[in-house]
Amino acid sequence: MAEAFMAYPELRHPFKETPIHPVGSTTVLYQGRTITLAETRGGDNLLIKPEDLGRINGFELKPEGACYADMCVPLNDELLVTLKGEQWFDLTAFAELLEQPYVVDREAGVWSFAEIPAKRQNMMVDAMAPEFEVTDRKGKVIRMTDLKGKKALLVTWSSW
């Protein structure tokens, strides 16, 4: 018998109401990640602390801009905003610049960001598999880059 793994026991009771985050926090969804931010600013826009950018979408702030792999987006006053002497990164302005869709539920304080199209362009150009990150039932993170050097078959299915 294979060992049975119970990765998400809490989901056996999907309709038990639980808080999404502590009062006053904001939640950002991107790919499979759920990131809770204690401090944000902005009205219509979502301003985050610059140091939170990396754990949201993997972009790093460098002198040449916000960078991911070999892509760099130059920073300007709309992306890097100063409020009362503090710097904030405008995640929604960044999304608009990159044509990255998002959906927000302001009441709940949750922002869900879609894939960044520029990260996936190679798939449409030369059939290179896009980067992805999922966790298997043993808790191991599987990334596209981990599959290099092997042939892989990915099959989706569902219980429904």
Partner: protein
């Protein structure tokens, strides 16, 4: 099933990853995985990340990725063999017996396999993922977060938004029906499928392997 195919291939340079597109999570998909006694990599993908990554709209769908990370086949209704539900004249059969031999040929012969497709063919076979379809994925993930936290009304709002933004996604339609009494294969599903096909839309791209 896939476990048998995986054992038959038995090649250390071949990885099989089966990914359940199940917002119900481990509770919904786990027992089905366990029943297969699998040794391949098993993923329960609540947010349908893999469908988003490869622009799939239905299950089962699959992708072959070579050693360099290049896609060499994509988006086919993928079955390990012909399956039958029921018996005799009432039996419903689905699947085929040509996909597994094609897969084995690719694992054995790599780029020399006749089943490997060119980059141009593959990119032609990848479904379009428009701004609205990407946005649908974001709405779907938001709905799933609310579902996990027991907020049924918001779950419905954002699942409906996802379906409206990407009406091609059978995954969204059926996942949403799992909340209903009749489930994902009841009358509503049959009606939706009938309308889908009547509009000339394909919910599986035809399998591009000759059936013998």
């Amino acid at each position: 099933m896939w476990q048998q195919v995986y054992e038959e291939i038995n090649d250390p340079n071949f990885v099989l990853i089966c990914v359940a597109q199940d917002t119900g999570g481990e509770a919904a998909a786990g027992p089905i995985f366990d029943a297969a006694n699998p040794t391949y990599i098993q993923v329960v993908d609540e947010n349908h990340i893999i469908s988003s990554a490869f622009n799939f709209v239905n299950v089962p769908s699959s992708v072959w990725i070579d050693e360099e990370g290049r896609i060499v086949r994509i988006d086919e209704g993928t079955y390990s063999k012909t399956h039958a539900i029921g018996e005799g004249e009432q039996a419903i059969t689905f699947g085929n017996d040509v996909y597994t031999p094609a897969l084995k040929d690719w694992v054995a012969r790599g780029a020399d396999s006749e089943f490997v497709q060119s980059a141009a063919t593959v990119t032609g076979n990848i479904r379009e993922h428009s701004f609205d379809q990407l946005k649908a994925d974001a709405a779907f993930r938001l709905a799933n977060l609310f579902r996990a936290h027991g907020q049924k009304e918001k779950t419905e709002v954002y699942w409906e938004m996802a379906k409206a933004l990407n009406p091609d996604s059978i995954n969204f339609i059926r996942q949403n029906l799992t909340l209903s009494e009749e489930g994902s294969a009841g009358e509503t599903f049959m009606q939706v499928m009938g309308e889908y096909v009547a509009q000339g839309r394909e919910y599986y791209r035809p399998l591009d392997i000759e059936q013998k």
